[in-house]
Amino acid sequence: MIVQVKGLKKKYKKDWVLKGIDITIDEPQIIALVGPNGSGKTTLLNCMMNLLTFNEGSVEILGKPNGDPSLFNEISYLQDNRILYGNLTAYDHLKFICRVQKISFDRIQEVAERVGMTGYLKRRVRSFSLGMKQHLLLAMAILNKPKLLIMDEPLNGLDPTSAINVRTILLELYKEGTTIIISSHVLDEIDRLTNTIYFMKDGALLKESLEKLTVTNYELTVSEPEKAKRILDESGLPVTMNELGHLNFKETDVPLQTIIDVLYRHDVVIAYIDNHKAGAEKRYRELFEERSPV
């Protein structure tokens, strides 16, 4: 058993923020926790990590109660960047973790290279950009090769290259046997990471497997965008064009091959295709349509 949360309830003043959450994770997987601001995602993660008390229920991680500090030798919690100390260097943070968790200092360089932060390892955190802080948080979280990695908004402030890098690292960790619970608003990235999504709505958890959802987003870079748009529109494949001249199909169930065939027949050269599933966003809209999108 990796995680077992039973009937977790948490009340702030008179309001129940968590209304009986049950989570059971038996084998390594990536789970996304999605919900609008104030839905209780961070509260749930903080309760699981024993940072907040809860009114009812129980949390066990790797067979131990969540209050056991020795758990943090085997798990990691990537939190908000406010936990960092501005007057210390990135190296100081990582060295401290190595010391308390009895990890070899050699691992610092290894992790820094993997995350891509060797250039500013010895710089003070106060001079870091948001993205650099996120890199450090990630490095801190993976330093101990955790069996369970819980991440609260790890993609905030990351540029596209860094976001891709983080995604690659997470997928590698998953392949190495790490269970990852990730709370994020970046639904696009969630779709690329996992099919298992836990939606938080009004303090309750709705577990979804998006494998059955086949909607996809495509972005095509083509030789003659305006001509291509006209051809696709006339072929009954409505498409939008962004300011860069890229053609976008949002949440479409049209097979990619159909689009390629139409353009090929009209001698339009396709330079690049970016395609990925769009299940999380579609489902999110369905669930939270009465709320403003995040």
Binding site: N46, M49, N50, L51, L52, T53, P69, S70, L71, F72, N73, S76, Y77, Q79, D80, R82, I83, L84, Y85, N87, L88, D92, F96, I97, R99, V100, Q101, R124
Partner: protein, 372 residues
């Protein structure tokens, strides 16, 4: 130990510490410059003091002459006039004597003071209280006996006296002000910024957070003291050598007594350091209660003020001095006046005991503490 080093680093590598140390060094240097500037004022002040006494005696002489003109047979007035004339002679001698001839000055001043006592015994009225005269006599005698030149209490350039001046400022207000600025936020701010979550999600017992923050704060306090005294000693080297056996007058059970300037500084720094250690422990408890820096600092200052006021303005039986943990908040008076059998060190055991209790409370409290 790992946690301790981390906590120490957090304080030592802060810009605040650097600025405070620079301010301390600049402050010490400015204090010395002030003393250099005011050297000429010392002589002027002494001349003025003697001038007032001369004026006093001259007025008395005129008054006695006038009385004797009316009644030449008035024996009492005759006697007082003779003594006052002799006092006036001593004052003239003092007024014309160089400040460098301190032994002669002390001898003459003592002769003058003895005459003032005699004058008062004979019924004369002189503007010097007997207690004050006795203290001046004892002080001069001590300096003559020890062969140590007296220095000005405020503007001395002699190294030991300058160090005492710095120590006085530090122990009376400086230590607590520096403490509050430097480590007032050591734990409360971690709750405000949520950085405590970093520590809470490491495989360490929460109690060690308290212990390590406590010992790192204590070490930083001693480091600050070292920097201050080091700066004072370095700056003081530009002044006079002075003597570390310099006598500091105290009142012990109603009698005048002396300790050396080194004893005074050691005792003062000991009591203030013990108090600082207790205040650090109290700060940690308040940080856990309020989890907010300003509230914590405010509660701490209010407690210190109330604690001091409780014992400074209310007359308790002397036994309570043993129990008052705030008796050394402004320790100068406590060091200089040792009456009713209460010695300078008697409050230390209770303060240390209270420190241990506060630390145990903080360790217990943090075990159940969560983010707000």
């Amino acid at each position: 130990m790992m946690q301790f080093a981390f906590e120490l680093k957090k304080i030592i590598f802060s810009k605040k510490l650097l600025y405070i140390y620079l301010l301390l060094i600049a402050g010490v240097a400015l204090l010395f410059v002030r003393n250099v500037t005011f050297q000429s004022y010392i002589e002027k002040e002494e001349t003025e003091r003697i001038g007032i006494l001369v004026q006093n005696s001259q007025n008395l002489n005129r008054m006695y002459s006038s009385t004797l003109e009316q009644d030449p047979e008035d024996k009492d007035t005759q006697k007082l006039k003779v003594i006052n004339s002799s006092m006036l002679e001593k004052l003239y001698e003092l007024r014309g004597m160089s400040m460098d001839k301190w032994k002669n000055r002390a001898t003459i001043e003592n002769a003058f003071l003895e005459q003032v006592l005699h004058f008062k015994e004979e019924g004369g009225a002189y503007d010097l209280p007997v207690g004050e005269i006795n203290k001046m006599l004892a002080k001069n005698e001590k300096h003559l006996a020890e062969n140590i030149k007296p220095r000005h209490a405020t503007y001395s350039m002699a190294l030991p006296n300058f160090l005492k001046l710095v120590v006085d400022l530090f122990m009376n207000f400086g230590a607590m002000i520096i403490l509050v600025i430097l480590i007032g936020e050591i734990l409360a701010s971690e709750f405000e910024t949520y950085s405590i979550n970093f520590l809470y999600t490491q495989p360490i017992k929460k109690g060690t957070i308290i212990t390590s923050k406590f010992f790192s704060s204590v070490l930083v306090y001693f480091l600050t003291l070292f920097v201050l005294l080091g700066a004072a000693a370095l700056v003081g080297l530009f002044g006079f050598k002075g003597k570390y056996k310099y006598p500091v007058m105290i009142e012990r059970n109603g009698e005048v007594d002396f300790i050396t300037i080194v004893q005074y500084m050691v005792q003062g720094l000991t009591v203030v350091s013990v108090t600082v250690i207790m205040v650090i422990a109290l700060l940690l408890v308040y940080s856990l209660l309020f989890k907010h820096t300003l509230s914590t600092v405010f509660a701490l200052l209010a407690t210190m003020l109330a604690g001091y006021g409780l014992f400074a303005f209310i007359k308790w039986p002397s036994f309570f001095y043993w129990l008052n943990p705030f008796q050394y908040l402004l320790p100068e008076e406590r060091l200089l006046v040792r009456n009713a059998g209460v010695d300078w060190y008697q409050g230390i055991p209770v303060i240390l005991l209270l420190t241990v209790i506060l630390l145990l409370i903080a360790r217990k409290k943090i075990e159940t503490s969560r983010i707000s």
